[in-house]
């Protein structure tokens, strides 16, 4: 690994100050868990290597999980292991726990952070689809203060985000109206452990109890476009429609049309299309299961 300087940030504001100080004159990277950054830098050429690395791993203010006025707030430094262990997240969003569980392995989940995973912005980012399906917002801190945007817009393209060089992702927020919204995340990789997703899908919707129809349905797809996307035609099709297996299957077929999968050495575009249809249907079924369990007291106890 090439030599670089490390400056440690005490908290988020200090980190942003350090970014403001160093970005004008140096190539700067931020390190949190380091699981992506260091793996990238190990064999990087000199032209690729940073001069300064801002270490935010001790910025304790970025490590909180709390329900606030705006919704469920998850600090950017919360690790995947902490997400899996959080009682609040386990209660409200088991899909987020499932998504975290599919990332890397125990060692990488202990180090890797939610914020770090999102800023990599790889198309297959496993934290992405569930949060997009829950209309999550992200808070970005820069020299001029905070700005907030939907996560779906934070992702710009493969390995590209809306983050400016002097900005820091500080918070992921699931809005109040979506707290407890039934959701399901499914990932298909070539192995169970340490695999990149060929396709990952998250579905989420409210159930209108009276009419048994889909309300505010969301389907998010990963690894099948330059970034995590909403399957908009599937979502439009489901809105207000009666909940039925056929509708879920049709939404799966429609989702295929929303995606632009590529063929690479892991899978062909055709295979990915097949997976989109199947996983979308299953994710919708899974989200419905979550809702049903919440309805029955027996299910809750289980």
């Amino acid at each position: 690994m090439k030599a670089f300087e490390v400056v440690a940030a005490r908290d988020a504001r200090h980190a942003v100050a350090l970014l403001a100080e160093h970005t004008p004159t140096a190539k700067v990277k931020v390190i949190a868990g380091g699981t992506d950054l260091l793996a990238d830098l190990k064999f990087a050429s000199a032209s690729h290597a940073p001069d300064v690395v801002v270490d935010i791993s001790r910025a304790e203010d970025l490590r909180t999980i709390a329900v606030t006025g705006g919704g469920l707030s998850i600090g950017a430094l919360v690790t995947h292991t902490e997400i899996m262990a959080s009682p609040a997240i386990r209660e409200m969003f088991p899909a987020l726990v499932d998504a975290a569980h599919t990332i890397g392995a125990v060692q990488t989940r202990n180090l890797g952070t939610l914020g770090g995973n999102l800023v990599t912005a790889v198309p297959s980012v496993d934290s992405g689809p569930t949060l997009v399906a829950l209309d999550a917002q992200v808070t970005v801190l820069g020299p001029g203060g905070e700005r907030r945007m939907p996560l779906a817009e934070f992702f710009v393209g493969p390995r590209r985000t809306a983050l400016k060089p002097d900005e820091l992702l500080v918070e992921i927020l699931i809005p109040t109206e979506n707290l407890g919204k039934p959701a399901c995340f499914l990932k298909f990789g070539l192995r169970k452990g340490q695999a990149l997703a060929l396709v990952n899908v998250a579905a989420s919707f409210w159930v209108d109890a009276k009419t048994q129809t889909f309300r505010a349905p969301r389907v998010a797809l990963g690894a099948v476009a330059p970034k995590v996307i909403h399957a908009t035609s599937a979502e439009a099709y489901l809105e207000g429609r009666a909940i039925a297996p056929e509708a879920m299957a049709e939404a799966g077929r429609l989702a295929v049309g929303d995606a632009k999968p590529i063929s690479d050495f892991r899978a062909s575009a055709e295979y990915r299309k097949h997976l989109i249809a199947v996983l979308t249907r299953r994710a919708l079924e899974g989200a419905y299961d979550v809702w049903q369990k919440k309805q029955s007291p027996a299910g809750r106890a289980r």
Binding site: A8, I31, T35, L38, A39, K42, D55, A105, V106, T108
Partner: protein, 162 residues
Amino acid sequence: MVTVTVNVNGEPRTASVPPETTLLRLLREQFNLTGAKLGCDVGDCGACTVMVDGKSVNSCLMLAGQADGRDVLTIEGLATLERLHPLQEAFEQLGSLQCGFCGPGILMSAKALLDENPDPSEQDIRDALAGNLCRCTGYIKMIEAIQGVARADGARPAPKSA
């Protein structure tokens, strides 16, 4: 250069290293603790697994400075002069290690698992070892060894309910 003080296997150790030094290189090159291995250097193989503040991590993916002031447990800290750690004993008895290169990492992952979950299911064990690659022995004998230790521990008071 940064000065790093780490509590390694219960003893404070200090070294002055370039800032880009990983925890793995700090342990191997400065403290001569060569139990943790460099297998892939990118967090895939798990041969470098150590515990930091009670959690297993890939020491190749952590900067030495990030471990400053923390507790680090390596394979060298598992046994005492008097006796092997039960996991080491079980791995030896069952022949769970062949070439042995993955062993230190596997044992640290197993230790981290049992610390948190004294009564793991087979699936829990497999999940705990997913980040440790073994190319010769295979995982069956390792899983048997870990289960054996868990059961022996479970016979003592207050096993965690499933």
